[in-house]
């Protein structure tokens, strides 16, 4: 990390955000992996059009909970989710909800950039093609260009859209994955440690991008870097051993944590 604790935590970029519409309302969420109790009776409200950061030591359940929000945990056979998770007031674990459609509304960016081994264009066009978002080639071209532009990648790749996405640098690949996710026109973007495989410059680029995207999406980001949480998020949730310990405005969490564990964690005493 190029930045130190003092200059990021002492003066977080994020200001206390105005109250927005609720996107997710979760109550009494429990997650089990086989016999392991990964998330314990969790309740959280996530607001639209701002960035919510999940922080906490490894194994605290933050990624697990993130993957509940688009039902990616369904792909893990031994994982069991119970409780009440509502997106726009609608229970996303109700039997009539199709997880496939849910994932089109709740996009996800993964820890390691995972572009498909296809051309840059086909990577971005993947979601729109599957969901039939465009009716002809011109519309698709426009959507691809718009998504790549939003992801801040258009100028770097416009001359080589037919080249494989796997040939890009790590940071570019991750922005390609973000472009791919927003091309599907989701309402929510989940990001699971999106910068942990990237160098500081690429990380900085992604963080700027998150700042630009938050006016259009509800963004939830899991991060191991407290500086990153402080820089990009307006709300922060601190997880510990499967519990949501503290949740509030990012400035408050970092400047006057109410819980002793939060204070210890953000001051680097454990984790």
């Amino acid at each position: 990390m190029t930045l130190t604790m003092e200059n990021s935590v002492g003066a977080p970029a994020a200001q206390a955000a105005p109250r927005n519409d609720l996107k997710f309302a979760c109550r009494g969420v429990n997650v089990h992996y086989g016999d392991a109790h990964a998330i314990k009776d969790l309740a959280i409200d996530i607001e639209d059009r701002l960035v919510t950061a999940f922080i906490g030591p490894s194994g605290c359940g933050k990624s697990t909970f993130l993957r509940c929000l688009n039902r990616m945990n369904d792909t893990i056979a031994i994982c069991r989710v119970t409780g009440d998770l509502k997106l726009d007031g609608e229970d996303i674990y109700a039997p009539r909800v199709d997880p496939v459609q849910l994932r089109a509304r709740v996009g996800m960016v993964f820890q390691k950039p995972n572009p498909f081994p296809k051309s840059i264009y086909d990577n971005v066009a993947y979601g729109p093609r599957i969901h039939g978002l465009t009716s002809n080639r011109e519309e698709l071209d426009e959507l691809v260009e718009a998504s790549l532009t939003k992801a801040g990648l258009w100028n770097e790749v416009k001359d080589r859209l037919d080249k494989p996405g796997t040939g890009l640098s790590g940071g570019q690949q991750q922005r390609l994955c973000i472009a791919r996710a927003i091309a599907t026109k989701p309402e929510v973007l989940l990001m699971d440690e999106p910068c942990s495989a990237l160098d500081p410059i690429a990380t900085d680029r992604i963080e700027q991008l998150i700042g630009e995207l938050r006016s259009q999406f509800c963004i939830v980001i899991v991060t191991h870097s407290m500086q990153q949480a402080a820089r990009v998020s307006q709300k922060t949730a601190f997880f510990h051993l499967g519990h949501l310990v503290e949740y509030g405005d990012t400035t408050d969490i970092f400047n006057k944590p109410r819980d002793k564990r939060t204070e210890d964690y953000i001051n680097g005493r454990f984790g």
């Binding site: 688009n70 990616m72 792909t75 056979a77 496939v100 459609q101 849910l102 994932r103 089109a104 509304r105 996009g107 996800m108 993964f110 390691k112 995972n114 572009p115 498909f116 081994p117 296809k118 993947y126 979601g127 599957i130 969901h131 494989p164 796997t166 994955c177 791919r180 996710a181 599907t184």
Partner: protein, 456 residues
């Protein structure tokens, strides 16, 4: 003889290891950290070098002695019986070897007894000389290796280099074998084509190569291999038609949908299928499948030969399923989970993910699997012999009896025609098969390179 050699090699190698280690430990003088290489490496270095030297000495000695013994016996035979032809001379020699070694000679006479006596003497000599030379070479190498042991000696790097040399040698053996097969194919094939014009062979439609052998030469009009190519193509096509879809679909199910328990049950069972000898498939095809096909065909009012391309092709297809499914399953499983997650995370279904992400990413491996199956199908002989017949009918009707290139090679080589006559057509067929398979492989590799989606 063999036991003695093995004993000498084992004793030398173990001794070299122990001595090398001990000497290195002694050279370190109590502080092992001053050694460049740990004592085990000194031991390994001495052992490897000693083993290789002794082995090489034994091999060279055996070859030279063999050459010397044969020469000496030959000159003795031509001295005693100058009128013998070289083939008879070889026979006398092998009989003599049998007499002196306690085997079963074809006959015993005075000449053979004399030669056997000389053979006995010489064999006794080699039985002492070969192990002796191996022992001497081993000891000399061991002595030099031990002399080189000191704290700075890089035994670790050197022993690794020796191991690399052994690995290279193994690879070279494989390549040389291929080159050897190719050379022998080319030689005989060239001789065949010096008698028969290429187009008569490739495009002639009558295959009965041995019908003219009584005149001592092949009849140009009867070595047309077209019926064989047609038969091979037909059966291979039927087999791939069965094996490709079933193998691939089974692999997709196993890799993507089956529960771990299901997978761990089904996969071994499929692999048992690959272990069934092709002879068994052959009589299964001939005894069980062929009558069923015939019955169905006759119920439909078709005339079905009791040996048909269809029966052989179907059973061959079943035989190839496990090769394709097992390999495909492995390549599909090797596609990173991250790609699947990425696709699912964009709201595509499991099937869309398989179709649009997993299979394209696995394509090169899937093509290899198909190629392997194809090669098995083209090369398969036993099932065809039993179930498709031997008549060289020029037909593409799967309900008739056909024969394939490989079956005809077997017929030619195992028949009671003299090898020198039968070899020509057999080698020409083998060569054609080789060229076709090679060409097919090259085209497939090109295609894969063009459409591959590398996920690294």
């Amino acid at each position: 003889m063999f036991g003695l050699m093995a004993l000498i090699l084992a004793v030398l190698t173990i001794a070299a290891y122990v001595l090398g280690r001990r000497r290195a430990t002694a050279a370190a003088g109590g502080d092992l950290s001053v050694l460049h290489s740990r004592p085990v490496y000194h031991g390994a270095y001495a052992a490897l070098l000693t083993f290789l030297a002794a082995f090489a000495a034994a091999a060279v000695a055996a070859l030279v002695l063999r050459w010397f013994v044969d020469g000496s016996l030959n000159s003795l035979i031509s001295e005693l019986a100058p009128s013998l032809s070289s083939i008879e001379r070889d026979l006398v020699r092998s009989d003599a070897a049998a007499i002196s070694g306690g085997g079963f000679p074809s006959r015993v006479d005075e000449l053979r007894q004399t030669v056997a006596a000389r053979h006995g003497t010489l064999a006794g000599l080699s039985a002492v000389l070969i192990p002796g030379l191996a022992l001497a070479a081993g000891l000399a190498t061991l002595w030099t290796a031990l002399k080189r042991v000191n704290v700075d000696f890089r035994a670790r790097n050197l022993s690794e280099r020796i191991v690399m040399g052994v690995l290279i040698a193994a690879a070279v053996v494989a390549i040389l074998t291929t080159v050897g097969i190719l050379t022998s194919l080319i030689g005989e094939t060239a001789r065949f084509f010096s008698q028969i014009p290429v187009h008569k062979f490739l495009f002639g439609s009558t295959w009965s190569p041995l019908s003219g052998v009584f005149e001592g030469r092949l009849d140009q009009e009867r070595v047309g291999a077209l019926p064989l190519f047609a038969g091979t193509l037909l059966i291979t096509f039927i087999a791939m038609l069965v094996a490709l879809p079933i193998g691939l679909f089974a692999a997709i199910y196993l890799a993507e949908y089956a529960s771990p328990r299901m997978r761990s049950t089904v996969k071994p069972i499929l692999e048992i299928l690959a272990g069934v000898p092709t002879v068994v498939y052959g009589f299964f095809a001939a005894i069980t499948v062929a009558p069923v096909i015939r019955g169905i065909g006759e119920a439909l009012g078709l005339s079905v030969a009791s040996e048909s391309a269809l029966g052989a092709g179907l059973v061959m297809g079943v035989m190839i399923i496990p090769f394709i499914s097992s390999l495909s399953d492995d390549v599909i499983t090797a596609v990173p989970q991250a790609l699947r997650d990425g696709s699912l995370g964009l709201g595509s279904t499991h099937a869309e993910t398989i179709k649009k992400v997993v299979l394209p990413a696995a394509l090169p491996g899937l093509v290899s699997a198909a190629l392997l199956g194809f090669a098995r199908a083209i090369g398969e002989t036993m099932i065809v012999v039993m179930a498709a017949g031997q008549g060289a009918n020029f037909t593409f009707n799967p309900l008739e009896a056909v024969t394939t290139v490989t079956v005809q090679i077997v017929m030619l080589i195992t028949g009671d025609t003299e090898a020198s006559t039968a070899a020509g057509p057999a080698f020409a067929l083998g060569f054609t098969l080789f060229v076709v398979t090679l060409g097919f492989n090259i085209v497939a590799q090109r295609l894969v390179r063009k459409y591959r989606e590398a996920y690294d």
